[in-house]
Amino acid sequence: MFSGTPLLDKIQYELGAQEPWPKDVKLYQPYEVEQILLPDNANCLAVQAFLRMCNLTFEVVSKSNAEFMSPSGKVPFIRCGAFVISELEPIVQFVNTKGISLTSELESDQKSDMRAYMSLVHNVLENSELYLCWCDKETYNEVTKPRNGSVYPWPLNHLQTWTKKSHVIKRLKMMGWFSKTIDQVYHEVENCCQALADRLEGKEFFFGKNPTELDALIFGHLFTILTTPLPNSHIANIVRNFPSLINLVQRVEKDYFKRDTMR
């Protein structure tokens, strides 16, 4: 568990690096079938994809209060020995300290590009998903509200959903997304997908023949957008207009998840 003090955290990281990857690593996330929401599902899937790409063993544990157990308040998080780490980038850093990296063969400019595209995906796709779930009335009433409150008894289900909505709206306002219209949000998603497709240029993965954490992140978001049933499927239709991205999603799913749920 982290101390909250940067220096102590660093020392603990370094000490942890000397130990091999334990076999009992657990990945905590909300219940997939009845509870998890689009942005959380995307992030959970991205971390799972990354760990599978690194060939690391882990067990998925579903908890209704996973986000309250997380040190950053965001899902997913992993428990690896004495360490509890949440969100993709810190998990990537932690895995790197064990001497396992998907980017060790990249040039420095490729690493810069990767960080920039990861920012783009975080900023555009994650905020679009949050906007869709919490600001689009139809999606909020039909999907977000019942799913988010499903694990709480009345009246806690309403209170918890209301509190979370106000947090998300605060965040979207801060990021300048709350004032956008739904069409502007779709336009942002389209531009983002176009930028990603232009970069992919028909390659197997973004930086050659091997995947990186960028591929894992994009897989998490696009797979979730494509497979989550929503009242309005416009966002999924936008992604379907980019065959190279669909191919990437199918490739990652086939290589690392070995399921056949894609159409």
Binding site: G4, P6, G73, D109, R115
Partner: protein, 294 residues
């Protein structure tokens, strides 16, 4: 016909050798300069009367508020001269820079007490017309504190700062690496919206006479990035001179103690050290004996 009319850009005042002190204002101005657009600049001193910054043409409002920069970028369409791949790269790097550098710069100016109280607040209080300055600063500060708590999330202030400085160092290193081949602009030989954004934030962060210079020192570690900022200043703002209108640098930086104070402090310290050494037998001071018997 309206295409030939000049843009009218209302921005915050020039100061500290900057064409304007606000990053959004400077970015918009730089985008217009890079696009060779015909622009008329007005300096605003009352944001309640008309938004600062804002862009108009033929009395028609083109950009203001939270999506000001996006609107300016789409009006000027500066990135259209890049090919598809570079347009995507420009978009990604813009998000990367704004997501990483901007929050720390915002903290440094609006939350970090010495910088806010000794530079930012006095500057805006002096630049905005009375009594609107009080109203503006009150609402701006409230928004800033709200935003800071949103950025900080569940972290402590120290953790937030450590992680932010680490992320900013990594981001600046990435831009420094891109510019290491001495190219004119970040994505090659053509200017883009990304150049306007990076230039504006770095130029302002380096030029503000803030009391705590930690962020400035971090930026100064990246020599190609600093050289790039100097080159763009020479190219687009050769006429801007360093002057201090609203806040003098003497009051912005920590006041130096006067020579008399230093002298008194030195004598007192030396006397105390000598007395301590004498009492403990480290040194033996011989005083002349005075014969009182007569």
């Amino acid at each position: 016909m309206s295409e030939l009319l000049p843009f009218s850009l209302r921005i915050w005042e020039a100061d500290f050798g900057l064409p304007t002190v606000d990053p959004n204002s400077l970015t918009a101005l730089t985008i217009l300069k890079m696009s060779n657009a015909n622009v008329r600049i007005t300096y605003g001193s009352c944001p309640q009367y008309a938004a600062i910054p804002s862009l108009t043409r033929n009395n028609k409002l083109l950009a203001e508020g939270s999506d000001f920069l996006e609107s300016v970028l789409s009006v000027c369409n500066l990135d259209s001269q890049l090919d598809g791949r570079l347009q995507g790269l420009s978009m990604a790097y813009k998000r990367y820079f704004l997501e990483t550098f901007e929050p720390l710069f915002f903290y440094d100016c609006w939350i970090h007490k010495p910088n806010y109280e000794q530079l930012i607040r006095p500057w805006y209080m002096s630049a905005i017309t009375f009594p609107f300055n009080f109203l503006y600063m009150k609402s701006k500060r409230r928004q800033a504190v709200e935003r800071y708590h949103c950025l900080k999330k569940m972290r402590t202030r120290e953790n937030f700062l450590t992680q932010s400085y680490e992320a900013v160092s990594c981001c600046l290193e990435d831009f420094n690496t891109l510019l290491a081949d001495r190219r004119s602009y970040i994505l090659g030989e053509l200017p883009s919206g990304l150049d306007a954004i990076v230039y504006s934030y770095i130029k302002i962060a380096l030029s503000l006479p803030v009391p705590d210079v930690r962020l400035q020192n971090t930026i100064k570690n990246y020599k190609y990035l600093c050289q790039y900022v100097r080159n763009l200043t020479r190219r687009y703002y050769p006429e801007v001179e360093v002057e201090y209108k609203h806040v003098q640098p003497e009051t912005a930086v920590n006041e130096r103690a006067s020579t008399l104070t230093l002298l008194i402090a030195a004598i007192s310290a030396s006397t105390l050290m000598m007395a301590y050494a004498h009492i403990n037998g480290i040194i033996h001071l011989k005083f002349p004996k005075i014969n009182l018997s007569r």
